[in-house]
């Protein structure tokens, strides 16, 4: 694996290139965008973190890339999802089945309910393998044992024949990772993979994901509302608000110099372990629902910097610093933060 430069775009062709991706929710006659013109890239061997509050569209974005959004009511309205240069959006369901689990995999938030309770762990890993190759069931079982060992499950020869209910949450998430990585996908989408786990298990799972990434070069899209997880895991970060990308930067740049008032608010709302202790600063209010997004900048009702321009015009996502793009009228070199 080549070690890429720290800024996105400087490297070779991206594995996943999302352009103007828009998902709309159609309810009756009302059409409301839940993901609005998202464009970003994910590179081989790198992790892209996506942060945002509940309801900002980050899960819909990941399901949309897999074309797993419930249609209707939601649909992909426009944009491209280029996986190694070929667009997934126009593919039929049949063709998508060949892509899912094979070239793009996904880990879900709830390990407790993400495994089919009626089959053994080994069967379910084998199922993923056999869906994309003509492996015999004996060979699939062998491969399942290897995969279980790889994700750090002790005694895999025994565990392979166990049912999900006899495994703990952390173990189940390891199994989910084994299933997701079974066919050595190009991209792994992890939607809040550690949210349901307790902190020590969380650290183990993150370690595992990191080492698997270095081994296989799989590009990872990590979705989380936990900034700590993002800071630890991601190379690049996207901050989403009300369905739009509002800030996009390499992880160091984002945490060192958050430019969007919303990102600043998010960072101010987590307690500092070292240094002076302040009262935590919550971001007042909640994300507006998709059918009721304000005109102009979607964040302006909650923003302390908002002025006339913010209320009237929507700020474009622009590169304000090197590799650091922000959608805010008040951000940029010299702007007060």
């Amino acid at each position: 694996m080549t070690n890429h430069a720290d800024s996105p775009g400087a490297a070779a062709a991206p594995v996943l290139d999302i352009r103007d991706f828009t998902i709309e929710l159609v309810t009756g006659k009302m059409v409301s965008p839940i993901v609005d013109g998202a464009s970003f890239q994910v590179h081989e061997g790198r992790t892209l973190g996506i942060v945002g509050e509940s309801g900002c569209g980050k899960s819909m974005l990941s399901l949309g890339i897999m074309k797993l959004i419930p249609t209707p009511p939601a649909k992909i309205a426009e944009g491209q999802v280029l996986l190694d240069g070929s667009d997934l959006v126009p593919l039929s369901d049949k063709q998508m089945e060949q892509v899912r689990g094979n070239r793009i995999s996904m880990i879900f938030q709830e390990p407790m309910t993400s495994l089919n309770p009626v089959y053994t762990v080994g069967y379910q890993i084998g199922e993923a393998l056999r869906a994309h190759s003509s492996l015999s069931s004996a060979a699939a079982r062998q491969k399942a044992i290897e995969l279980l060992r790889k994700v750090g499950i002790p005694n895999p020869e025994k565990r392979v024949d166990e049912y999900p209910h006899s495994l703990s949450g952390g173990m189940r998430q390891r199994v989910m990772i084994a299933i997701a990585l079974a066919c050595e996908p190009r991209v792994l989408i992890a939607d809040e993979p550690t949210t349901a786990l307790d902190v020590t298990i969380q650290a183990q799972i993150l370690d595992l994901m990191r080492s698997l990434k270095t081994e296989s070069g799989t590009a990872i899209m990590l979705i989380s509302h936990d900034l700590g997880v993002i800071a630890e895991m991601a190379d690049d970060v996207i901050v989403m608000y009300a369905g739009r990308i509002i800030e996009q930067a390499p992880v160091h740049s984002l945490f060192a110099a958050p430019s969007h008032p919303y990102t600043q608010g998010l960072l101010a709302s987590i307690p500092a372990v070292e240094g002076e202790q302040h009262r935590l600063q919550p971001v007042p209010g909640t994300v507006p629902p998709p059918h009721d997004r304000p005109k102009g900048c979607a964040f302006h009702p909650r923003c302390s910097f908002s002025d006339e321009k913010c209320r009237a015009e929507r700020p474009p996502l622009e590169e304000k610093l090197a590799g650091h793009r922000v959608a805010c009228w008040h951000a940029g070199p010299g702007a007060s933060a």
Partner: protein
């Protein structure tokens, strides 16, 4: 860490647990014993029955139960005990075939309706239409088309069972579909068929089976009613409903001709319902503490 109920119940069929739980309840035990006796009688009718169920003996018409004829004789001197054993066979067969056919068709329709929202409305409204006719009316209509007989009864019972099963199966499928494992199945690239067959069906099957055991008693009762009305099994072939109907004429001086087949039906259906109920208590995760 507490695991959700669904993952525990669905982990394999709790066969042993089932027997232990049934054994704890004396009423279920009696029901199980009665049902086993009736089934054995039906299966072994050929060997147990002391007389030919069709043999007419005009010298022994309408005899009351005695040692010679355990359940007495009917209007043509046929041994009611022998006829009951053979009749039980037909009655049980009627019920089971209806449950099998209606259960299979209903399950398929219900799962498809739950899985494909586009098919849902059409299929389920169709089921509602069928549901709005009483089963007896179906029996009459089908008997009118293809003629009375066992086949007509099986078709009528199957048709009237299908929409009930479809509703249950659809509900269970919707519940299973809401689980994350279906999304993760999709995310590994499984097609609709694999999802329906390996993810949705196995997670609905216990709900459907429990419903079918409860429906079995009703189906048998309905089948007997249709035969009683003369739409089902035709005389002289023994069938419990038909036999009960044949005794109506002499009900006041030889009530046993009608009462005995009726009681056999009664015990059959009662024990099935009791067992179905206990089965539901054991298998339904929502009723389990």
């Amino acid at each position: 860490m507490t695991s959700p109920i669904s993952s525990e119940t669905a982990a394999g069929f709790p066969g042993r647990h089932l027997l232990v739980s049934l054994g704890r309840d004396p009423v279920s035990c009696i029901a199980l014993a009665t049902l086993s006796a009736l089934f054995l009688g039906a299966v072994l009718a050929h060997w147990i029955a002391p007389y030919d169920p069709l043999a007419i003996d005009m010298m022994k018409v309408l005899k009351a139960p005695s040692l010679e004829h355990l359940f007495g004789t009917d209007g043509q001197g046929r041994d009611i005990f022998s006829r009951s054993l053979y009749g039980l066979r037909v009655t049980i067969l009627l019920g089971f075939s209806a449950i099998f056919v209606g259960g299979t068709v209903g399950t398929v329709i219900g799962l498809v309706a739950g899985f494909y929202p586009k098919a849902d409305t059409i299929l389920m409204r169709l089921m509602d239409v069928i549901l709005s006719f009483p089963a007896i009316l179906f029996g009459l209509a089908i008997a009118a088309i293809i003629g009375s007989g066992t086949t007509a009864v099986i078709i009528a019972l199957s048709v009237s069972t299908t929409p009930l099963v479809a509703r249950i199966a659809r509900g269970a499928a919707l519940m299973a579909l809401a689980h994350d494992y279906v999304s993760s199945g999709r995310a590994i690239g499984l097609n609709d068929w694999a999802l329906l067959w390996r993810y949705v069906l196995p997670n609905c099957i216990s709900t459907i089976v429990v419903f079918l055991t409860l429906r079995l008693g009703q189906a048998i009762l309905l089948g007997a009613s249709l035969s009683f009305l003369g739409l089902g099994t035709q005389p002289p072939a023994p069938e419990l409903g038909t036999m009960a109907a044949q005794g109506i004429g002499f009900f006041f001086f030889a009530p046993h001709v009608t009462l005995i087949p009726s009681f056999v039906i009664f015990f059959l259906v009662l024990s099935m319902n009791i067992l179905g109920d206990s089965l539901r208590d054991i298998l339904d995760p929502r009723l389990r503490s």
